[in-house]
């Protein structure tokens, strides 16, 4: 029996790496993104738009 740890299988047990955590927080809008000058700033997500109209869910 080997005492060394088993090789980590990313496909079966994804680790919560720092990169993944940041990506998840960013996708949820919980993390500030860098503004144009590199300073911390949140950014409004552009909603669904049709012919320039910014529509709400259920409008169509």
């Amino acid at each position: 029996m080997s005492l060394s740890p088993a090789p980590f299988d990313e496909t079966s047990a994804p680790r919560l790496t720092r990169r993944r955590l940041l990506a998840a927080l960013l996708a949820l809008g919980l993390l500030p993104v860098f503004g144009p000058t590199g300073r911390s700033a949140t950014t409004n997500a552009m909603p669904v738009r049709l012919d320039g109209w910014l529509l709400a869910p259920g409008d169509r």
């Binding site: 503004g35 911390s40 949140t42 738009r49 049709l50 012919d51 320039g52 910014l54 409008d59 169509r60």
Partner: protein, 478 residues
Amino acid sequence: MHIDLASYAARDPLADVCIIGSGAAGLTLATRLARRGRHVLLCEGGDQVFTERSQALYRGESVGDPYIPLDAARLRFFGGSTNHWGGMCRPLDAYDFTAKPADPRTAWPIGRDDLAPAYPAAADILEVSPIPPDTRIPGLALKRVHFSIGPATRLKDKYADEVARSPHLHYSRNTNLFGLETRDGRLTGAVVRDYTGGAYRLRARYVVLACGGIENSRLLLWCNRQSGGRVIRQPATLGRYWMDHPHATLGRALVFAPAALGLDASQSVFLAPTPAMLATRGVLNCGLRLHRMSPEDGEALATHLALIAPRLGERLRRQPPGSRCGVVLRAAWEQQPHPESRVELDDDDRDALGMPRSRLVWRKTALDHHTVRECVLTLNDYLRRRDIGRVQLEPWLADDTLQFPEDGELAGRHHMGGTRMADTPEHGIVDRDCRVFGQDNLYIGGSSVFPSSGHANPTLTLVQLAVRLADHLDARLD
């Protein structure tokens, strides 16, 4: 009094203050100092009325972002650009003088409190009506702001008699600055030219350059070159950090509950980011302008929206048409101050007096796009969350790429920067008193000293600065 330049120059008097330019800043300075008995020499490059030969000196090339022709964006005769301004006034916000989170280069060496004592006089000069305080709109990161609109005071008409009658104010028209003589950090003379080939040397204890937000840069660039760099010892920022207020139509909105934004009682409503929004959204200041459409245009907009969004259209059909309104969304916003936006000398094209014309390199940035986009999306978010309206963006703003309109309004013709105010000569051309670094008796009047612009029209602020400068010079003359 009007003077004959040749005979005045022949007497070689030493004026207390020589002011170059008779626009909003120059006339404010000249009249206030003359009323205190100071010997003022006021030089205007144009005439009492518009003349083509004077206006032609304002022609210049624009090689940056699309801009208004330089000879159409300003006026070169007595009264300057107050002869065509619209009269909109609002003081800068207190935080406009500070280092904003999005770009700390917005900081001024002075604060709003430094200009506050000059407000009553400036408001009287421009006939500014009382401006209501800003008001918060619950749930919206934009606040409602107000302007004094009109009467677009024409300083030419307001001060023509005083200039003609004052025994202390010596007024010379068709008198164009062409050179500055300096020795050991003091101006010793100003060389001026008329249109007939005459050149004269004028002397004054203090000289103020007040020729507008493009011409101040051009004249200083030229005079500095002619002097071998002795006028501006550290010219790294000269002509740079040039700004206007970008203007654009952003789109339209159909507002189902006009009262929520004050659109039930006002034809136009102005919104601007709160200080908290400046920080959280990383934007600069922005005036979002909502203008009510005619009822017919508003209903046409509702019809279009119903075609795009049928389920919303069903609801709109049940709503009385008179209860909603269409608005045109426009914005005039604070341009990011940065050195690449600049005025240069065009050595390939000289004016009738032999001076290189202005070449404008106007450059907007990603932050400028971010600012206006965030402001309109914040309004959209408010309208959608409360289900009280929908926004339709212009294609240039709806697209995800960085772009600005290439025609239409473009800008407010508010020429600012180029000789910015700073704490040190490495970062600007004038100090907190509008005195040129390295020159004891040379000052700049006008919006070219603005380190940043806020979103408010600049005339009130530049007249406040001129009132303050008149007090400063009067004190130094004692």
